[in-house]
């Protein structure tokens, strides 16, 4: 075998030996649980409005496929607010600078929610010129819905 090839493979093996093994199943399960928790949090925030039948929330399963993790099931959350639909759509666990992402898709625009390193969800307000991620509370949820829905 070519010596350079042998050296390359040995070097890569050593690099791999030195780095911690990633438990992909655990990552997937934590992400799925965090998405469920997010939906619970949103439904709780909207509970009063939902009680008045102004908001309907439906969870619908879908399949996501990611590198290393494979294919798994996770729910979308669909909100019917008046005649408008807003969909919370998980984008995956393998996300730079976060532990997962859910996109919020409205009829006017889209927003991004990120699972933070402390396992709380945040709303990505901007990347540039300054990174701004605010905790997802009722104020942030209102801002997200206003952003993605028609005026």
């Amino acid at each position: 075998m070519n010596q350079k090839l042998v050296e390359l493979l040995e070097r890569k093996q050593k690099q791999s030996d030195g780095s911690p093994q990633i438990n992909w199943n655990q990552r997937r399960d934590e992400y799925i649980a965090a998405v469920r928790s997010l939906y619970d949090q949103i439904e709780e925030m909207l509970a009063e409005a939902s009680g008045a039948k102004t908001v309907q929330a439906i969870r619908q399963g879908k399949q996501l496929t990611e590198s290393y993790i494979g294919t798994y099931s996770v729910d979308d959350l669909q909100l019917m607010i008046g005649s408008e639909q807003v969909r919370f759509s998980p984008q995956g666990r393998n996300i730079a600078g976060a532990r997962g992402r859910v996109d919020v898709l409205g009829e006017r625009s889209e927003a991004v929610l990120l699972l933070q390193p402390d396992s709380t969800w945040g709303f990505l307000q901007s990347r540039q010129p300054k990174l701004t991620v605010v905790p997802l509370d009722e104020t942030a949820l209102a801002e997200v819905l206003q952003l993605v829905m028609r005026d």
């Binding site: 990633i22 995956g92 996300i95 730079a96 600078g97």
Partner: protein, 189 residues
């Protein structure tokens, strides 16, 4: 009284090779940054703000967008470099009064220009390239191939506000380097 230098001391002309080398250096840096961002997905290490929340496909798409923009700016710089070399060659031939057919043609044309145009002669149509083509001292095909690059350069250099010429997507920096280099090398000494 000594003649003013054609290239003043504060000028910073770039060669085609310098432009291409700069582009390759930036491509390397962008590729390294892409690799770091993708690795951050696996390792969870902090990543530059512009990559926060991106998945692999978005990082790749972002990288492609940056490469495309870099290519456009490189084409602009390559054509500008070649244009500068041809203009410097033009002014030298006008000033030095050489006997070569191209020098004679340049001087004859130069005499027909207004004082303002003598300082800043047209380059493409009804300009230096047109005179160069008329003399036939270089293969006209080389002039024509370089002229196509000018369309991409003008579109980028003047703010991209009109319909994008097909040359912008058709010609990459290597194509433009080859075309510009071929024309410059064909210029008679």
């Amino acid at each position: 009284m000594p003649l003013a230098p054609i290239v003043p001391p504060s000028a910073e002309p770039q060669t085609l090779d310098e432009v291409l080398d700069w582009q390759r250096g930036v491509v390397d840096a962008l590729s390294d940054r892409r690799a770091i961002a993708k690795a951050a997905i696996l390792t969870g290490v902090p990543v530059a703000a512009r990559f926060i929340g991106m998945g692999v496909r978005e990082i790749e798409a972002f990288h492609e967008t940056e490469l495309r923009e870099l290519a456009r700016l490189t084409v602009l710089n390559l054509v500008a470099s070649a244009e500068a070399t041809i203009k410097i060659d033009y002014f030298r031939r006008v000033r030095d009064k050489q006997k070569h057919a191209l020098s004679v043609a340049y001087r004859d044309w130069h005499k027909t220009l207004s004082n303002k145009k003598r300082d800043r002669p047209n380059f493409d149509e009804e300009g230096i390239l047109a005179v160069l083509k008329e003399t036939g001292v270089v293969d006209n095909h080389l002039v024509g191939r370089f002229r196509e690059c000018l369309k991409a350069r003008h579109w980028v250099g003047h703010g991209r506000y009109w319909t994008k010429p097909s040359e912008v997507d058709r010609l990459d920096p290597d194509d433009v380097y080859d075309r510009a280099s071929a024309l410059l090398q064909a210029l008679p000494l």
